[in-house]
Symmetry: C2
Subunit: 219 residues, 2 copies
């Protein structure tokens, strides 16, 4: 027999409980990883009973989805603020985005949350869809700057350069993130990234992107 969700969390009290639940779930995901995320642990962390947790989230998958949504909204709100305070100078705008994202990697939450999300996305359709949405939104201001800095590129090419820059920064997570070996070098890495990306955007040509294969193909 199917259980129907009853807890809509419309009252003050309900909303607070939901926040406690989502925070607890996120903490467990970050501190112990998805494999250790259980309904019982989430309830314990939120200091409520398992029954109460089920009142709001009848099954674990519902909880996971809402937790991912909630966690990502937090990042997006910050990012949106940055986007709206956009500088008219595309070079300055690009620099501030790079700086924001790279320095955000030093945030302990970011360091552990995103690798969990990436791993999850390989096995969970919803996490995968969510990832596509986040990064598409992150790329928008990048594409805007790139387009203005290099008008020779068509939109598809602009998209690919933005994708390269975005994914490049994400890759630093595992190395310069919080608690990582190279964490002390995070500012130097941001410098290298900024210099590298600016040069790339300014000097890349449609031909370079579209060439059939590299000069030194693997035998």
């Amino acid at each position: 027999m199917r259980n129907i969700r009853k807890g809509t969390g419309e009252s003050r009290r309900g909303k607070e409980t939901i926040l406690l639940i989502l925070d607890s779930a996120k903490s467990i995901l970050i501190e112990e990883g998805y494999s250790k995320l259980s309904m019982r642990k989430v309830a314990l962390g939120a200091q409520i009973s398992v029954g109460n947790l089920q009142y709001y989230y009848p099954n674990k998958n519902d909880l996971l989805k809402d937790m991912l949504d909630h966690s990502i909204d937090e990042f997006m709100d910050e990012f949106e603020r940055l986007r709206l305070g956009a500088n008219n100078d595309p070079e300055l705008h690009l620099k501030s985005i790079i700086n924001f994202i790279v320095l955000d990697l030093g945030n302990p939450t970011t360091t552990t949350f995103y690798p969990e999300l990436w791993a999850l996305a390989n096995h969970d359709e919803y996490a995968d869809k969510l990832m596509d949405e986040i990064y598409a939104r992150v790329r928008v201001p990048l594409e805007d700057s790139i387009m203005r800095l290099n008008p020779t590129l068509n939109f598809e090419q602009v998209q690919k350069v933005a994708l390269f820059i975005s994914s490049s920064m994400e890759g630093m997570t595992m190395f310069v993130g919080h608690g990582k070996v190279w964490n002390d070098s995070i500012q130097h890495m941001a410098n290298i990234a900024t210099m590298s990306f600016l040069q790339l955007v300014k000097n890349i040509t449609p031909e370079t992107i579209e060439q059939a294969s590299l000069e030194a193909p693997l035998r």
Copy 2:
């Protein structure tokens, strides 16, 4: 009472069984993720009994460690072959490394295995240590090429540029890997990466790396 490992896998038969076990474990990790990796599933995949699995790996952690070692050795063997066939021309050498790593992302195993490893490394000391070792070894030939292409950098600076290039490529995993949305663009991304990294290596200066902060700091 503590159980002692008895299966050393010294005989032909034992070695074969161990391979079946490791392959099974790796398949499950890749196809279903670490949260679904259980002793029973591994035994089932290897077509042996749980008791037999325990004979070789008395506990799950031992199995995990050996599986990670084994999986990474496979990649390293390939990579070592590339390193030994090193080109004398540092630019060509750099290009071939970039090409190798980026195109390897199209491998379905790589696409899913590495994000699992990164997530694991945030909660498991051994996985973390292993990661450090792999990427340190990947960086060696990069550092060699960079040093020769740009003699103005000291070794610490060379290391950081190599780290940037390496992590940048790893970041593409989540976007251009097998089954990912941008997988069709993998060759274009390799082109962008090659052009971008070469320009970076040739034009970066010690001052650019070491500068205190960016021109557009976040308020």
